[in-house]
Symmetry: C2
Subunit: 253 residues, 2 copies
Amino acid sequence: MGVTEHITIIGTGNVASQLSKSFRKNGITISHVFGRDVYKANVLAEDIDAKICTSLVDLPNQLTILCVSDDAIKEVVENIDPKIPIAYTSGSVQISSLPQKENLGVFYPLQTITKDREINFFEVPIFIESNNDYFTQTLFDLAWKISRTVKYATSEERSKLHLAAVFVNNFTNHILHLAQELCIKEDVDFDHLRPLLKETIAKIDIHSAFDNQTGPAKRSDQVVIQSQMDKLNGTTKAVYEVITKSILKTYNK
Amino acid sequence: MGVTEHITIIGTGNVASQLSKSFRKNGITISHVFGRDVYKANVLAEDIDAKICTSLVDLPNQLTILCVSDDAIKEVVENIDPKIPIAYTSGSVQISSLPQKENLGVFYPLQTITKDREINFFEVPIFIESNNDYFTQTLFDLAWKISRTVKYATSEERSKLHLAAVFVNNFTNHILHLAQELCIKEDVDFDHLRPLLKETIAKIDIHSAFDNQTGPAKRSDQVVIQSQMDKLNGTTKAVYEVITKSILKTYNK
């Protein structure tokens, strides 16, 4: 197995880019980059001072972090020299669903990573899994270089974390998107709602979301609920209806 | 009209309590408190060094802030001497739905207010409405004592703000409740998700929620969506399904 001080990154998206930058800052050299999109691979390689690999068969025999979309992981793992240790960054792909290799693992940073926003991985929990103890230790050591929260999680545990993360990030963000769309449509300034959003989230550090709930559905105020439903249509109305029902059920058991 | 330096508070809940404390801190005397719950009224009155009124007919002729639930506002307004200027704190009750009075207004702080958590109203937008210019100015002056964002909003505009607030606070919080319930059920530590939540909200200050969206629904990943649906049931599954549909529709127009 290659030493951890030199690693290869496969992928050129947000995770590849942000992880690479964080590794570099913490003394890990990304010596090689491979990406299907040669233009993007060149940009990333230049950015982090790495060499480009133009084919998977040219990869050096060293720890390789696979930052590609879930549906591409299997194909890449199949096409890499089985001697090369690989860890992928997905929350939902199970190790057992992939071709077996000598060193196959998971390096899952539980964070939302988009363009143009540098992530401080120090605060980000990283979940490790692998098919042997030695490789597990290698991945732990690597993760400790960039994060102060490194945990072992089985594929099953990781998929539970990922499901909760879908609620915490994807769904919360989409609710905020619907609110922003409403504000645009109704000519309301979303900035007026920012202190409310800030307080909503700050309260989660103090009490449970169950205890923090307020609003018409919490107090079963059918007059307000009906008048708000009348203002909505399409999927926004459907979302309003289902979440309202869920709140009513939560507080009227 | 009474001077703004002495006001009456009707109500003994979280809004009454937090607003009273903020007024007092900023030099406004709450001279009288009235509440249906005499025990709570006594506690609040003692807390803010005010006198108790045991009946609505005993209220002094001075600005009165009505911090009661939406469905109680009409009854209280009907039973107060019509000469007493009243402003209520609701997001959704229209002025035109109430009995007309000489000075009737709205003092709506756009914030989520629960027990045990002191609100700094300085950051909270307060929306004012009233049935005459002089009373509007009185309410503006009062709001400026505790907030740096005071705006005029018609009943119609206020109801739009309130609808957006239901998404930003009530729905976001309930999504987080479902995530916390999932974590308990699946034996996952919600603390692992706090950095994700923090980043989700921090990103809203930089880009739109539309641009920040990530996750299986955003990338139409039906394999992950189906496997996550299989893990859920009841209203949590219904919420997952409707928000996922809404995200799919948002990014596949």
